[in-house]
Symmetry: C2
Subunit: 491 residues, 2 copies
C-alpha cells in the first residue's frame, strides 16, 4: 500500500521534504495556509525531478500523489509521517503540534525540521510527547542525505528506530544525535564558522567572496568526502590521530580565532578521540585513505571542471594555457598540415575513469572520442558561439574497436581524419594512442542539426568549406584499416 506523509509548512524545507517523499513513491499532503506555498512546492518539485531520480543507478518507484488539503486534520489523518517545517518560533510550533496531534494517527511520527530547538522544548505543551522527534534536514532536502535525528527522554522508545527506517526508505542518512543540545551537531559547527567568518569580514581581512573561495578551493572539497577527523587522521600520517593531536593540540592554545573557549586537551580527551577515530577509519591504512581521498577529489574537481564552476575554473584555465604546447590546434588556422590527421586530444587518463578491471572503462573511450569530435567541430567553425546561435552536430552512429587497455595518469592522444563532409553529414575517423600503442579506433557519422527543430539541416558554408579542405587534403592517405567494418567481420 502506498504510504502517506503530511508536510506541515510549504517553505523551501517543507517543499524539499515533499519532493523526497513523493519521488520515493509516497503520497504527500502539503498543508500551508499561504497561497504562495503551492507554487513554491511545484517549483522545488520541478528541480527535484531533474536531479533526484538520476542520483542513483536504479529507478525510484513511481511517484506518489500530491495534494494540498485545506485543513490540518485532512492532512495528517492516515499519514504515518508528519513533518513540521514552520518558522523557528517555539510557541508557533507548540501550538501547531496541538492541532496536529488532535488528528494524527496514534502510531504516526511527528518530526520537526527545527535547526535550533530540542525535542524537550517541542514537547512542552503536548499531550502525546512520545510521538515527537526532531528530524533536521539540510537544503536542498531532495539532494543532501543528512537528517539529524534527536529524541528526548519522553519520545517513545521505538520511535528512533522507526524514524531511521523511514528516512532510509526515502534515501536519506539519519544521524542519531546522542544528546539534546541547542542546534544539534551540524549547525553548531556551521555557526562556529559563521561567527568567525563575520569577524573576518568585519575586520576587513577577507570579503565574502574570498572567504567562500578559501572554503571551496580547499578544505570544502575535503569535507565533502571525509569530514574533519578523518582528514586530520591522514594529516597525522602513519602515526594516526594520536600523532596529529600531539602536533596540533598545543596550537589550540594560540589565540588564532576570535572564538577562544577551548576544552582542555587532556589525556582522556586524546584517548577518546584517538579511539573513536580508530573505530571510524581504522579499517583502512593511511595509504588507503589517501588513495581513496585522491579518487574522490579527482572526481569532484572534474565535475566542477565540466560545470565550469569554483575550483573547476582553475582546471579550465590550465587547459587553455596548456593547449598549444600540447600540440592541439585551437583554430582552423592552427592546423599545420591539413593533409595529415589532426591532433584533436592530448590528455591523461583521470584517476576516476578506472573500472573493476583496473583500466579505463569502456564509456570513457567514447568520452575521449566525443571530445575529439568536439574539437574537430570547433576547428571547422561549430564552436560555442555557433552552437549558441542554434546549430550543432548530433552523432547518429558510432563504431569502436577496443584494441588495448590503459590506466590512470597515462597519456592519451587522438588523431582525427575527416572521411567525408558535405550535405548534412560529417564522417570522422579517430585513432586513440598512448605513446606508440594504438588503444582504439572510432568511426562516427554525425548530422548537422537545427537545435530548435532538432532536425538535420545542410551544413553552413564555412563548415562545408573547411570540411572540404580537410577531406580533399586527406583523400591521398590510404583508407584507415577497419573503416566501415561491422562487428564480427574479423573476429
Amino acid at each position: 500500500m502506498t504510504r502517506t506523509a503530511a508536510i506541515i509548512g510549504g517553505g523551501v524545507i517543507g517543499a524539499g521534504w515533499a519532493a523526497r517523499f513523493l519521488l520515493n513513491g509516497w503520497n504527500v499532503r502539503v498543508f500551508d495556509p499561504e497561497p504562495s506555498a503551492r507554487e513554491r512546492v511545484h517549483a522545488v518539485l520541478d528541480a527535484a525531478r531533474l536531479a533526484l531520480p538520476g542520483l542513483g543507478d536504479v529507478a525510484l518507484p513511481p511517484e506518489g500523489e500530491l495534494s494540498f488539503p485545506g485543513l490540518i486534520s485532512e492532512s495528517v489523518r492516515g499519514a504515518e509521517w508528519v513533518q513540521e517545517s514552520v518558522p523557528e518560533r517555539i510557541e508557533l510550533k507548540q501550538k501547531i503540534y496541538q492541532a496536529i496531534q488532535l488528528h494524527m494517527e496514534e502510531d504516526a511520527i511527528l518530526a520537526s525540521s527545527t535547526s535550533g530547538f530540542t525535542p524537550t522544548e517541542l514537547q512542552v505543551s503536548s499531550a502525546s510527547p512520545g510521538q515527537i522527534i526532531v528530524a533536521h534536514p539540510f537544503n536542498p532536502v531532495y539532494l543532501l542525505p543528512l537528517v539529524e535525528l534527536v529524541a528526548s527522554d519522553r519520545t517513545a522508545p521505538d520511535l528512533v528506530a522507526r524514524a531511521q527506517d523511514t528516512l532510509n526508505a526515502i534515501g536519506m542518512f539519519p544521524l542519531t544525535v546522542r544528546a539534546e543540545v541547542p542546534a544539534h551537531v551540524a549547525d553548531r559547527l556551521l555557526e562556529a564558522v559563521w561567527r568567525e567568518a563575520l569577524w573576518l569580514v568585519k575586520d576587513g581581512v577577507a570579503t565574502t567572496g574570498e572567504i567562500d573561495d578559501a572554503i571551496r578551493m580547499g578544505f570544502g572539497l575535503r569535507w565533502a568526502q571525509m569530514g574533519l577527523f578523518e582528514t586530520y587522521r591522514i594529516a597525522g600520517g602513519d602515526g594516526g590521530m594520536e600523532h596529529f593531536l600531539g602536533q596540533f593540540g598545543p596550537a589550540l592554545k594560540w589565540p588564532w580565532t576570535k572564538l577562544t573557549d577551548v576544552p582542555e586537551m587532556d589525556a582522556e580527551l586524546v584517548r577518546n578521540i584517538a579511539s573513536q577515530s580508530d573505530t571510524q577509519s581504522g579499517a583502512l591504512s593511511i595509504r588507503e585513505l589517501e588513495a581513496q581521498r585522491d579518487r574522490n577529489l579527482t572526481g569532484f574537481l572534474r565535475v566542477l571542471g565540466q560545470q565550469g564552476w569554483g575550483a573547476g575554473n582553475v582546471l579550465r584555465a590550465a587547459d587553455d594555457r596548456n593547449l598549444s604546447a600540447a600540440g592541439v590546434p585551437a583554430t582552423f588556422d592552427d592546423i599545420a598540415d591539413p593533409a595529415a590527421p589532426t591532433r584533436t586530444v592530448h590528455r591523461a587518463v583521470p584517476l576516476d575513469w578506472l573500472d573493476y578491471n583496473g583500466h579505463m572503462t569502456e564509456a570513457r573511450y567514447l568520452h575521449v572520442f566525443g571530445d575529439a569530435t568536439d574539437r574537430m567541430m570547433t576547428l571547422i567553425g561549430c564552436d560555442r558561439d555557433y552552437i549558441a546561435a542554434g546549430k550543432s552536430f548530433f552523432t547518429v552512429e558510432t563504431h569502436i574497436r577496443h584494441l588495448d587497455e590503459v590506466t590512470a595518469g597515462a597519456p592519451l592522444v587522438v588523431d582525427t581524419r575527416v572521411i567525408a563532409g558535405g550535405g548534412k553529414k560529417m564522417h570522422l575517423w579517430h585513432e586513440l594512442r598512448s605513446g606508440d600503442r594504438l588503444l582504439a579506433t572510432a568511426e562516427h557519422m554525425l548530422l548537422h542539426v537545427d537545435l530548435k527543430t532538432r532536425r538535420s539541416v545542410a551544413l553552413t558554408q564555412v563548415l562545408a568549406e573547411r570540411l572540404g579542405v580537410l577531406v580533399k587534403a586527406q583523400s591521398r592517405l590510404p583508407a584507415p584499416e577497419g573503416l566501415s567494418r561491422a562487428i564480427g567481420d574479423a573476429l
Copy 2:
C-alpha cells in the same frame, strides 16, 4: 627555458609542492637533511602522477627533473621560487631563511607554507625581508588549488603579482589575504570548527565518526562548490543576503555554540556583507544559483556513488533496495523469461549527463550500455567475486546507433539479448528506451579474459551454460534490426 623551484623541507607538504612544480614542467630540487625525505617525496609523486595530470582535459607539459642536493646553497642557487615547508617553529624558519637568503637569487621568491605565522614574523631577522611571502597550501597540495598568499609591508611591492603568476602557472588558486592575521583565513575557519568539534566529543554529544558524517552527508557537499556566504544567499531566497541576515542574524545571539564571541550585527556589517555578496554572486539569480548548485551536487554525489564512499553509500543502498521493484533481475534465477530480452537497466538520466546540445551526451549512451553489459555479466555469474578471483570480460568492439535524444530526469530502460556466447566470446545486443521511444541500439563483442595475463581464455562452465540457456531461448526471436551493420550501410 625550464624554470626551477627549490623545495626546502620534504614532508607531506613539501613533497606536494614538489609534485605540483615537477608535473607542471619545472625542475625541482628538494632539500631535506632527513634520510627518509627522498622516499616520502617519491611516494607523494607516485600518487600525484596518478591524479594530477588527469584533472584537466589537456596534457600538462613534460615533467621537469627532480634532484636532492645535499646543501641548501645548491638547492636555491638559480631557482626562481623557494618554498619553505619546515616544521612550525618560528626560530627554525628564521634561521633557515638566513641560510637560504645567503644563496638565493635576488629576484627569486621565498615563500613559506606556514599555516600560522605572519610574513612580518618570518621577516624579523632577515636581511632581505622583501623576498619573503607566505604561500600557504592545503593537503593534498597536488590536488587542492587553494594557496593563501600573504604579504607584509616589508614584502617587495611587485612580489604578490609575481607570486600569483607563478601559482597560476602551476594550476593553483592564489587567494591574496588582505591583512596579516595569525592563521590567515582558512585555518581560522577550520580552527573554529575544530574547537566546537572537540567540545562535542568531550561533552559526549557525538563521536568523531558522527561529526564527520554530519559534515560529509550535508554541508560539506555544499561547501565544496559554493562556500558559506553563497549558500546562505540561496537560503535567503529571492530576498537574497539582506533577507537571510535579517532572519539569521539574531540567532547568533543564542548561546548555541561554546564559542560565543560575536560581532555586533549592526547596519554597517549587514550592508557590507550584502554588498560583497552582490559582487560575488549577483550575476546569477537565486534560481540560476540553485540550478548550478544542483548540477554540482548531483555530480559530487554520483562520484561518491561510483566510489562507494561517504554519501555515495546512501545512493548504493537505495539502488539495492529499488532494484527488484525496478524490474531488473539481481540473479540468474530472477530472470522470469529467458526467451525474452532481459531488462538490464532501469534508471533516470542524471542531471550532470547533459551536454551543450541540452541532451544526454553521447558517451553516456555507452555508459548506460556498459552498465547493461555489467548486469548481464553479473547474471551469468561474472559478478564481483568472480572478477576478484581473476577473470572478467573486456569489450573489444562496439556499434551504437543514436536514434533519439533524452534529457535530465527522464526514465531509461535497457533490454538485452544474448546473440551468441561460447568459446571465449559473448555477443550482446542492447536496446535503450525512454518510455516507448527507442533511443539507441548497441551491439557489443566481448572476450572473456584472465586478469593476470590480460589475455582471452575460454568461458568457465557456469558462464557458458547460462549463456547457452539464453542464446537458445532467444534464438526464436527475429534477428534485431541493425545487427552486424556497418556505418553508412543505411544512411
